[in-house]
């Protein structure tokens, strides 16, 4: 596997869930003033300090892109990896860390062979939405909490975005590189950390959500839509957005 697995973390030195749920083989990227605390709790991991001027999730992700040619970025709060294609009653959690690494590696390999520059897994949380006739998608949204970038991606985050950086980079990749590989067979589920302590939640609030949606609409026009409530998800935050591209 060419990509380094990198976990961005902030304010959770003793609570890196990803270590137990996904893999314990990764490089940690943390704010420079938290390095010591992270070292205390994560003695066996390589830790890279973000420079002082790196503030917020967008700049942190950009720092990772600048630092690694090919990288698979994970958030620190992945709860579990699930198979989306299981039958009722069949075990759906992938708990074997070696297997999870192979799932990531297989996706990276497919992306490389296809010439894609970004790869990742479905952001859809409902297994009933999985279409077995469509195990892969080629345009769409990749959740920043589990996304890979391959050498030559030529992508750069827009530093004006506070929390919509993953929508930006997904759309910008379609603009620049035309397609990506989204493996719909597996999903990486994060804890519901929208407004909990630590991590990206520090940057999230309703105003930033709306502000970033408006900025994304200016940047990508009709590809950005306001998310509508559905029967499955009735309560939305105002400003939640979705991406729709004019080709698949």
């Amino acid at each position: 596997m060419d990509s380094k697995i990198v976990v961005l973390s902030k304010g959770r030195p003793d609570r890196i869930l990803t270590k137990t749920s996904v893999t314990d083989k990764f490089i940690l990227v943390v704010p420079h003033d938290e390095v010591d605390q992270y070292k205390e709790y994560n003695k066996d991991l390589e830790i890279i300090a973000q420079p002082q001027e790196v503030r917020g999730i967008t700049m942190a992700r950009q720092f990772v892109l600048d630092h690694f040619e090919s990288v698979f970025m994970l958030d620190d709060d992945i709860d579990y990896v699930r198979k989306m294609y299981t039958e009722e009653g069949e075990p759906y959690k992938v708990t074997n860390q070696e297997m999870i690494l192979q799932i990531i590696e297989q996706n990276e390999s497919i992306a490389k062979q296809c010439g894609a520059k970004m790869f990742g897994f479905t952001h859809v949380r409902r297994p009933v939405a999985y279409n077995p006739m469509k195990p892969f998608s080629f345009t769409g949204f990749l959740n920043g909490s589990h996304t890979g970038f391959l050498k030559g991606h030529n992508l750069k985050y827009d530093p004006r975005l506070i929390e919509g950086e993953d929508h930006f980079i997904s759309a910008y990749n379609v603009y620049k590189n035309r397609f990506m590989i989204i493996d719909n067979r597996y999903a990486f589920f994060t804890k519901d950390n929208w407004k909990s302590n630590g991590g990206c939640s520090m940057d999230r609030n309703d105003e930033n959500l709306k502000r970033d949606t408006l900025l994304l609409r200016e940047l990508f026009g009709e590809c950005v839509h306001i998310k509508n409530a559905t029967n499955m998800k009735k309560n939305l935050f105002e400003g939640e957005r979705t991406l729709k591209f004019p080709y698949k």
Binding site: Y172, L214, L219
Partner: protein
């Protein structure tokens, strides 16, 4: 004409009442047919309401569908009662008198009065078009014709794939040799299966090579 409306019915030339420019009322073909049958059978029994207010003289407040049907049936005169009201009130009364049994163009309705007034008349929140929040209005106001990063499909742009499934090792080896599939060392102990990609153009070249050989 007195400024105080009387309730007397007047018969006027059918060309006198003028349809209002904002009338939000719609009628389905079925309802129009029923109305036509009724007018044919019983005549116009319910007078139209027209305004006498200065600048709004002869504007129809209620009875647009009946007037249209009477014209279709070739009537020369129609019964009217006179009303006297400024335009704001005229719009409200248009909605009020038509509310029961009316089918409306809701996009027009919301331009005639504020939502509170419309609720008073009897419209419900679910009938009226969704009220846009400040955020939604700002979102709608963004010019999407010239985004910074326009994403448009190139000619025929679409990404897809097929799988080739083999059922035994001999077939698989043939496939591997013919399409020059490289070994994937990292999958020695793999648990998730291999996936080898051959892009179509490459596939066509290899296929031609293979057919030339055989």
């Amino acid at each position: 004409m007195s400024k105080i409306p009387d309730l007397e019915i007047h018969w006027v030339d059918i060309e006198v009442p003028i349809a209002s420019e904002y009338n939000p009322r719609k009628i389905t073909p079925k309802k129009k047919k029923e109305l036509m049958e009724s007018v044919q059978k019983y005549g116009l029994r319910d007078p139209l309401k027209i305004n006498t207010f200065k600048g709004r003289e002869n504007i129809l407040i209620s009875g647009h569908q009946r007037l249209s049907v009477a014209k279709d049936l070739g009537h020369k005169k129609v019964p009217v009662t006179y009303e006297y009201m400024p335009m704001d009130q005229e719009k409200l009364m248009n909605l009020t008198w038509n509310k029961s049994g009316g089918v409306f163009d809701m996009e027009k309705v919301i331009t005639l009065a504020d939502r509170e007034k419309l609720f008073e008349i009897g419209f419900s929140d679910s009938e009226l078009p969704k009220l846009l929040s400040d955020f939604e209005q700002k979102f709608e106001d963004i010019d999407t014709d010239t985004p910074v990063y326009p994403i448009a499909p190139k000619f025929s742009e679409h990404y897809d794939f097929v799988m080739i499934f083999t059922e035994n090792e001999i077939d698989y080896m043939w496939l591997k040799n013919t399409f020059e599939l490289e070994n994937k060392q990292s999958y020695k102990s793999q648990q998730v299966g291999e996936c080898r990609i051959v892009k179509l153009k490459e596939f066509m070249k290899l296929y031609e090579k293979w057919t030339a050989k055989s």
